[in-house]
């Protein structure tokens, strides 16, 4: 252990912590200690953790504010659902189908990330934020226009942009099944997501991001963030490196979306709106820009909080908001930061550049 670099040690601790949580939760589930509500939260928590990690790559490492991250999640969710539902008979094995769906979700979100990245990454700062916001909304509206069904002849797809068509126009054979019904979203999806898949996805995402950060490419990306002109002057290809980070961030959000979409039998595109993007951004900001471990912890805590507050009924959302304000104030106050860094001295080293 002695001759390891500090950041490697830090990462080993993070992975060990994740593995420990995984084992503890699995054992508790096996013993039946966890209630139904906690068990039901596991998969969405995993999805939001991956969302927070991937957004942290854009916001924290690349240093660009993106407000349309939920759009990529939506693309991943719906392409994953289409993949899973149309492969029902071809791939009967659930884990294999889930992996396929997540891969399809990641690929599609990655493609869209690339397409969107072409115009978006030419902009900086506030402009980039607004353009990503617009793209997120466009993606949501486009999915709302989709009608998709599957039968023995393959996939049927209509882009219902004037809103005048419905599922009957798909021309499905009697054995066919409708997968996405436009505004009514994906209904009748077979929920196949599992906590194991969620934990694996978190690990894979974290592995990819950490490896990127400490690679030559990652250092280039952070150099661009810290001083664009200096980076350019030493010959770093700005657009290329930004594109790498943006597409990877989108692809991982797509995988998280696929997992999320396959956890519910009904999913509407309206779910992936501005609010969801902001929710994930809050996880990232609260956890600390560029701090992956912080993102994980913040996503878990802030997702569980409103559920844990169910006992308060009408006061639930009020308390949630107050907690959010207090936490933001505390984490921003230098005194509290000192306090925290003394408590968690081991973990904070080498992360202060965020």
């Amino acid at each position: 252990m002695k001759n390891l670099k500090p950041h490697t040690k830090h990462n080993i601790v993070t992975f060990a912590g994740l593995a420990l949580v995984w084992i503890i939760v699995s054992v508790m589930r096996g013993q039946g200690v966890l209630g139904r509500s906690t068990t039901g939260l596991l998969v969405p928590i995993c999805c939001y953790v991956v969302m927070a990690l991937s957004l942290n790559l854009t916001v924290g490492i690349m240093g660009e504010l993106s407000l349309g991250h939920a759009g990529f999640m939506g693309i991943g969710a719906f392409s994953g659902i289409i993949a899973s539902q149309s492969l029902l008979n071809i791939i009967p094995s659930v884990p294999l189908r889930l992996i396929t769906a997540m891969l399809v979700g990641a690929i599609f979100a990655g493609i869209f990330g690339f397409l969107i990245g072409i115009p978006v990454l030419r902009l900086r700062g506030d402009y980039l934020a607004i353009v990503t916001l617009a793209f997120g909304e466009i993606i949501k509206e486009l999915i709302t226009c989709l009608l998709v069904g599957v039968d023995e002849h393959g996939l049927h797809m209509i882009f219902n942009y004037r809103g005048l068509k419905n599922v009957d126009d798909l021309g499905l054979s009697p054995t066919g099944q409708v997968i996405i019904k436009g505004a009514q979203g994906a209904t009748g999806t077979q929920p196949i997501a599992s906590f194991t898949a969620g934990m694996l996805l978190i690990m894979v995402t974290l592995f990819i991001i950490l490896n990127l950060i400490y690679s030559r490419t990652g250092r280039a990306i952070m150099a661009i963030r810290d001083n664009r002109i200096a980076a350019e002057s030493v010959g770093i290809d700005i657009t290329k490196h930004k594109m790498i980070a943006f597409v990877m961030s989108a692809a991982m959000a797509g995988a998280a979306g696929a997992l999320y979409g396959l956890n519910y039998s009904n999913l509407v595109a309206a779910k992936f709106d501005f609010n969801t993007s902001i929710l994930v951004l809050v996880f990232v900001v609260l956890g600390g820009l560029g701090n992956m471990r912080g993102s994980i912890i913040a996503a878990v805590l802030l997702y569980v909080l409103p559920e844990a507050l169910r006992g308060m009924h009408d006061y639930r959302m009020l308390i949630y908001a107050i907690v959010l304000i207090v936490v933001m104030l505390t984490t921003n106050s230098p005194v509290a930061r000192n306090l925290f860094s003394r408590w968690f001295r081991f973990g904070k080293k080498g992360e202060e550049d965020a």
């Binding site: 039901g40 419905n166 019904k181 207090v326 104030l329």
Partner: protein
């Protein structure tokens, strides 16, 4: 260190606030605290009945659709209190917030199951109901939703029943009514195409109107984000010569449509469905705009029967507003469930799956007369059969059309 102290104090204050929030609600939330008293006298009154059924409920209590969830929960609460006041087997009622979101509805359902729920009242909105009912189907928990109206809610799930009309039912009902009572009109439709409810009704209406010879001259769409301005759609409808405007939408956007149409001196016949219910009680809405508005609704708060009168009086006393259709739906759901539980011989010590199997058998034999319709019966696929009533708004109140 002073700053650190103040932070700690702030945190402590927050916790204290959280604690008293929790404390006060737990006392108001469990009407069970007064059940022992009533159950002790119950055996004398009605025989051996004792104990209490656990009714969970799920609906949007915060967010955009909160008005529906709150109304349904308030209505259900009145029914629960009435039943508990009579003695006999009691009901413990636990309403949970699902924010009209499928994800949160599953969370709410799961936390209700932890609480020991035996039957579910809800979920109130369609998307939530589809998501939660899939889980409830796996668990075998019986659900009766007051107002989730899509056919997808009940499709392929024998444990999921509806108290409201289905969307196709409303589309067909509207087309039938127009074909019979107002033939020869040119119809324009404005609907929200990112909403399952609105799109569902529009789809069947268009299909039915083609079959019944109703002429649809214009269709305008909007989404959640564009529901504040309808001048484009209204101008297009007007220039297409439409003299009947069909609005299968909720009442908030409809109120904007009514105001804008008035400003541009466009006065077709406005025709809505059950989502229009509630427009008269909307805050800041000029009710004169709704004069002549027609809507299909199962419930009219000015009906003269005793049941409606008592309910409306009680609701107004407690919540300070006129109940809408969702409140009436919530009220009926509790009674339908309670009666079906008693008729099928369920007892409070039975588990949710046992109750579910009994209720599935019982529901198809049930006939119920309630606030939202007479002689309601249920088919095996969970859909209710009752007659939609067309009402027209005159002088700020519903009058049967």
């Amino acid at each position: 260190m002073k700053k650190a102290m103040s932070l700690v104090l702030a945190l402590a204050m927050m916790l204290a606030l959280a604690a008293c929030g929790g404390g006060s609600t737990t006392t108001t939330e469990t009407p069970a605290s007064n059940t022992p008293a009533s159950t002790t006298e119950a055996p004398a009154a009605s025989g051996a009945a004792s104990g209490s059924f656990k009714f969970g409920a799920s609906g949007p209590l915060t967010g955009d659709a909160a008005i529906y969830g709150k109304a349904a929960m308030n209505g259900a609460q009145i029914a629960v209190d009435e039943i508990n006041a009579k003695g006999g087997i009691q009901i413990e009622f636990n309403p949970q917030d699902d924010e009209a979101d499928g994800e949160k509805a599953v969370n709410a359902y799961n936390s209700l199951m932890d609480w020991g729920m035996q039957v579910l009242v809800g979920p109130v909105t369609t998307g939530s109901a589809i998501a939660a009912s899939a889980v409830a189907f796996q668990d075998r928990t019986f659900c009766l939703t007051p107002s989730a109206s899509s056919t997808d809610v009940t499709a392929n799930k024998d444990n999921m029943y509806q108290l409201c009309f289905t969307d196709p039912n409303q589309g067909t009902g509207s087309a039938d009514y127009m074909a019979q009572n107002m033939p020869g009109h040119k119809v324009a439709i404005i609907y929200r195409n990112d909403d399952a409810y609105s799109q569902g009704i529009r789809d069947t209406f268009v299909k039915e109107s083609a079959a019944k010879g109703i002429e649809v001259v214009y269709e305008g769409t909007f989404t959640k984000d564009t529901q504040t301005d309808f001048s484009v759609q209204l101008t297009a409808a007007q220039s297409a010569g439409a003299d009947l405007l069909y609005m299968p939408i909720y009442y908030q956007p409809a109120s904007v449509i009514l105001a804008q149409a008035k400003n541009m001196n466009y006065a077709p016949i406005f025709f809505g469905v059950d989502g229009m219910d509630g427009i008269l009680t909307m805050e800041g809405f000029d009710t004169s705009l709704a004069e002549g508005l027609m809507l299909l609704t199962p419930f009219a708060a000015d009906a003269e029967d005793d049941l409606t009168k008592t309910f409306v009086a009680e609701y107004e006393k407690r919540f300070g507003e006129t109940p809408n259709q969702f409140a009436a739906d919530g009220y009926d759901v509790v009674y339908v469930l309670y009666n079906a539980l008693l008729d099928s011989g369920c007892t409070p010590d039975m588990s949710a799956p046992e109750i579910c199997e009994k209720l599935i058998g019982q529901m198809q034999q049930t006939t119920y007369n309630g606030l939202t319709g007479q002689n309601m019966t249920w088919s095996a696929n969970g859909e209710v059969s009752k007659m939609p009533v067309a009402v027209v708004i005159e002088n700020g109140v519903y009058v049967s059309a």
